[in-house]
Amino acid sequence: MNQTVVSFLSQYEFFDHLTNIFGANSLLLTILIFVTFSVVFVAVAATIGGLGTYAERKISADIQMRMGPNRVGPYGLLQFLADGVKMMMKEDIMPRTADKFLFYLAPLMCLLGVFATLAVLPVSSGFTLTDLNVGVFYLIAISSLVGVGVFLGGYASNSKWSMLGGMRGASQIISYEIPVTLSVLAITLLSGSMSFGKITDLQAGFITNWFIFHNPFAFLAFIVYFVGAMAETNRAPFDLPEAESELVSGYHTEYTGMRFGFFALAEYIEVFVVSAVAAALFLGGYNLPFHISIDFLPIQFVQLSILVGKALMLYYVVIWARWTFPRLRVDHLMSVCWKYLTPIAIFNLVGCAVWMVAFKGQSLAQLIFGH
């Protein structure tokens, strides 16, 4: 059982060298590995988030038949670094009437909520930081900290735009958490586990084992999840909390410099996380669409790239949707959630449960083609 990356690494010979150095069962070693991997994860995630801004601009340019960033680095690839540097160099302004404590706290909370989810993200069969038994649940729970951050950011700025944006953000995130959770619950039902590792393992093998193809309800659940997740990450067409044309910039209107950067970074990383979770839950995670049985370290990197590839594909869809659909109205946003997505999600959940009972857990493909 590779519950954590440490226990995974302990299978390999080089780990013995490490234990020789640090002593067996050393807490220090464990913490060291964790810290190393965490730092790598956060760094990679931050890079992906940064690249996300680049991707956004490039893809939108493509859709709008423009060039997009092309000056900094090859194809403008280093644009995000330039942006980052610019942000850090900027003056850190705080409004006079702002609630200081909360103003500081808010962006950090956002970032905390996002980074905390990385702990359970199943990037490969071995490199997952920890494979919690309640992984899915944990991810949903901890990522709602982002909502708190958004709301506090809006409140603390003591500005009308921010306040409205924060209120919208909070209500939107809390509302859309329900269909998302219910859809995820459907997968939990199908897999019988909340551990990302187990869910992913169950989807190993041929492409028909992916939960999205397990039954019609699961397919619907994927759509509900994806739409809900887009709303939860405040992505267009659900980007009401930061609607430029209405609220200037929403909850982060008053933020500048790196604090604003934190918000932006959190958003882009969250989109990636959400896509990766969708890939892990519905699209087979780090599994290839066919069965392979290789058991050595490089396969971890293959798996890593598969998951990231799937996630990036969904990432592309998210950006695509942003530049395709117009923004929703506030009441439409709420009615989409409560009148459509939530009932559909409940229907899916019940449907999945009935399916599991009625067909003894077999997937559609198994029913049609046999085992």
Binding site: L27, T30, D99, F101, L102, L105, L132, N133, V134, F137, Y138, I140, A141, I142, S144, L145, G147, V148, F151, L152, Y155, M163, M167, A170, S171, I174, E177, M194
Partner: protein, 176 residues
């Protein structure tokens, strides 16, 4: 060791945040501290091996606290501005004054003493027996919920439904 570290951190977070909840005069700060306190409790649960409960705690309260904050913001207005500024109504400020704190402190003290009296008998209680790896509680809790405790489970679902519907009905603006 790891557990102890986690315990100390969580306990500190819990207690400090709880006290801050009591002392701060700003309802929003109060809410944020409550959030900290509750997350600390989740950490304590984790040290007790209650992974499911811990995550549930985070899940429910993070969202719940935001709601509380929303309400706090929405409802901090109306007559309160006037009463805060001029104390026209002769009532204590909403976040309390010396008098209310005095009563609260008195009662708290009495209760604290009472509790200490009770706790003093627990000195012989065992220490944590096995601080090795925890087993997952998810499956067991699942089985317990739908077997031994199915009635309470169902009742709680009805309760939640009732609360949902009731809240919606109570809060609905009524047309005169």
């Amino acid at each position: 060791m790891f557990l102890n570290t986690l315990f100390v951190m969580s306990a500190l977070l819990t207690v400090v945040c709880a006290v801050l909840v009591l002392t701060t005069k700003n309802i929003m700060h109060s809410c944020v501290f409550l959030l900290g306190s509750l997350i600390g409790i989740a950490g304590l649960y984790a040290t007790l091996g209650a992974d499911f409960v811990a995550v549930t705690q985070v899940m429910v309260y993070v969202g719940g606290v935001v709601i509380l904050m929303l309400f706090a913001v929405m409802l901090t207005g109306g007559k309160d501005f006037i009463s805060k500024a001029q104390n026209l109504m002769g009532l204590a400020p909403t976040m309390g004054n010396t008098w209310t704190y005095a009563v609260a402190g008195l009662v708290g003290l009495v209760f604290l003493l009472t509790n200490i009296q009770l706790l003093s008998r627990l000195g012989t209680m065992s220490k944590l027996k096995n601080d090795g790896a925890f087993e997952s509680t998810v499956n067991k809790i699942g089985h317990l919920l739908v077997k031994d405790h199915v009635l309470s489970f169902e009742i709680s679902s009805v309760l939640l439904l009732g609360a949902l519907v009731g809240a919606a009905i109570i809060a609905r603006p009524r047309k005169q």
